[in-house]
Amino acid sequence: MDQYTLNLIFVGGSFALYIGIAIWARAGTTAEFYAAGRGVHPVLNGMATAADWMSAASFISMAGLIAAVGYGNSTFLMGWTGGYVLLALLLAPYLRKFGKFTVPEFIGDRFYSQKARMVAVVSLIVISVTYVIGQMTGAGVAFSRFLEVQSDTGLYIASAIVFVYAVLGGMKGITYTQVAQYCVLIIAYTIPAIFISLQLTGNPIPGLGLFGTHLESGLPLLTKLDQVVTELGFAQYTTLNTSMFNMFLFTLSLMIGTAGLPHVIIRFFTVPKVSDARWSAGWALVFISLLYLSAPAVGAMARLNVISTIYPQGTQSEAVLYEERPQWMRNWEVTGLLKFEDKNGDGRIQFYNDKNEGFTATATERGWAGSEFTYNNDILVLANPEIAQLPGWVIALIAAGGLAAALSTAAGLLLAISSAISHDLIKSYLNPNISEKGELLAARISMAGAIAVATWLGLNPPGFAAQTVALAFGLAAATIFPSLMMGIFSKRVNSMGATLGMLAGLVVTCAYLFTYLGMFFIPGTNLLENTASNFLFGIPPASFGPIGALINFGVAYVVSMMTAQPPQDVQDLVESIRVPKGAGSASNH
C-alpha cells in the first residue's frame, strides 16, 4: 500500500471516530454545552485538558525549537508545564467551587461589575482569536503535506470537522473528542520517539536516552551532540547562549500566561467536585508530560541525526553527495521546508554556521562558500519517522497526530470564544430574559460564527500571526490571571480596583508590544527598533507578561485601598469559594 493511501486511511479513520463521538455526545442543555454537564471523570478531563493544551505548536514545533538552541529553549518545557502548578494550586479548585460557566462570569460576579466582565470578555476574545489562527493554519499545512490537497481545501475540511462536533456537542462533544484526539496524538508522538531513542542510545525511554550513551561513538549523547555542533561552528547545545535574566523572565511569562488561558481554565468547570478539579490538574500534567518529557530527547536526537545524515563519516570528513542524499530529504525538499543550494559547486551538501565569524577561517580552509542546507525546524518532528526509517503507517500516524493536536486546541478555543459571546454578552448583557433553549441556540450560532471567523483568518493569515502569540500569553498573564487570583485570595480588592487593574495590565502590555512590534503589529509602525538595546530594563516584548501582571496587581491593590471595601455579599461569596463544601452540580441561574 502506498504512503498516500495509508495517510488517507489513518486521517480518515480518526475523523470518522471524532464524528461518531460527536453524534453520541450531543448537548441538550446549556450546562452540557458550556461545561459538559459537570459529569466528566477527572482522569478523562485530564486527558481532554492535555489535548486542549497541546496545540500544533507543542506537537510539531516545540522539539524543533529546543533542537535549534538546546538548553536555552528549555524555557518552553518549564514554562508550559509549570503553569499547571499555578492553575492547580491557585485557580482551578476555587473556580470549580464557584460553579458557573465562563471566566468573565466569575470576574463579573466577584467584582460585582458589568464593566469588569466586559474587559474580561475583550481580553478573552483577543487571546483566543489570536491563538486559533495558528491552529487553523497548522491544520491546513498538515493536510497539504500529508494528503496532497491544497492548503485552502485542507482548511475547509478541518473547519467542517470542527463544525460538526463543536456546534453539535459543545463542551460535551469537544471533551470526548479531545480524549480520543489525545490518544491519537500521544501514540503518534511516542512511537517514533521510542524508535529513535533505541537506535541512538539503546534505551527505549526517550527521556532517559537523552542522558544515555550514544551507541555509535560510546560518548554520552549530549557530549557527542555538543562536539558535532561546535565542529560546525554552532553554539554548544548544553550551555546557555542568551542571558540568564531573559531565560528567567520568559519562563515566568509562559507559566503565568498558561495559567491565565481561558480555554484551559474552563476545562476545570467540567468535573463533578472541587477535589476532582485538584486531581484533574495533576492528571492533565501527567498526560502532558508524556509528550513534554520526550520532546527534548526528540529534538536533540533529531538534530544529531540530521548532522550525521549530512556528514556520514563524521563532521571532520566530507559531506554527503547531493546525488546520494537519503529518500526523506528528497521527500521534504518537495515541500520547500528543506532546501539545498550548492554554493561552492562541489556537488556535496555542506552544512555549518556561516553566521559565526570565528568559524569563517575553518570553513574557507575546507573550501566551503557558505552553508548550503537549510531546514524548517518543524520537520524535525514531522520527518522523524522517515529519518528513523520507520514503516509507512508510523508516518500516517504522525499526520493524524498533528491534525488531532491542531483540531483539539482549535475546538477548545472556539468554545471559550462562543461561550463568552452567548453567555457573557448575550445572556448577561444584551438579552437577560433569553430562555434556556434560546441561549443554547445562541451558543451554537456563536460557535458557528467563531468557526467562520477562524477559517477566514486561517485563509488570510495576517502577516503578524507569529508575533501575536506573544500578545496572547502577555494578555493572559497581565489581565486574566491576576484578576482571578485576587478575586480568590483577597476579600479587599473591589470593583474599581479590579477593573482599573485589568485595564492597566491590558493597556501597558499592548503599548509595550506595539512599541517594538508595530501598532497592531503592522510592520513599520513600531516606535523603537525591536533590538535588545532599546528594551526597557532589557525586557523583550515576549517576556513582558509578568510585568503586566505586576502592574495589574499593583493598580488593583492601591485603588482598592483608597476606595470602599466590597459589599458583604461579595465577601461571603469569596468565603464560600474558598471551601469545597457544597459545590453541588451545575448551577444555571
Binding site: I66, Y71, S74, L77, M78, T81, G82, Y84, V85, A88, L89, L90, P93, G207, L210, F211, G212, T213, L219, P220, L221, L222, T223, K224, D226, T238, L240, M244, M247, F248, T251, L252, K273, V274, S275, R278, W279, A281, G282, L285, V286, S289, Y292, L293, P296, E575, S576, R578, V579, P580, K581, G582, A583
Partner: protein, 85 residues
C-alpha cells in the same frame, strides 16, 4: 458554611501548604534549572550537568509530584476541618 473561626483555620492551613509548594515549584525550575545551574555544574548527569537535567526533565517531574501532593494533602485537610464535599 462552617463557622467563621474554623473556616479561617482551614484557609490558613491551605495558604501554608500552597506557600511550601510554591517555594518548591520555584526552586525546582527557576532555581535548579536556571539561576543555580552554574553552582551545580560540578554534578555530572549523562554528558552534561544536573541543572540541564532539571531544566529539561526534573522540573516537570517535580511539578507533577507537587500537584498530586497538594490534591492528596488538601483532601485530608478538607476532612479535618469538616469542609469536604
Amino acid at each position: 458554611m462552617a463557622d467563621k473561626s474554623s473556616s479561617n483555620a482551614y484557609w490558613s492551613a491551605n495558604i501554608r501548604i500552597i506557600t511550601v509548594c510554591m517555594v518548591i515549584w520555584f526552586v525546582a525550575s527557576f532555581g535548579l534549572g536556571i539561576l543555580l545551574r552554574p553552582m551545580l555544574s560540578g554534578i555530572a548527569v549523562g554528558g552534561t550537568d544536573l541543572g540541564f537535567w532539571f531544566a529539561q526533565q526534573g522540573s516537570i517531574l517535580v511539578f507533577l509530584g507537587l500537584i498530586f501532593f497538594y490534591a492528596w494533602k488538601m483532601n485530608k485537610v478538607d476532612a479535618e476541618h469538616g469542609v469536604e464535599e
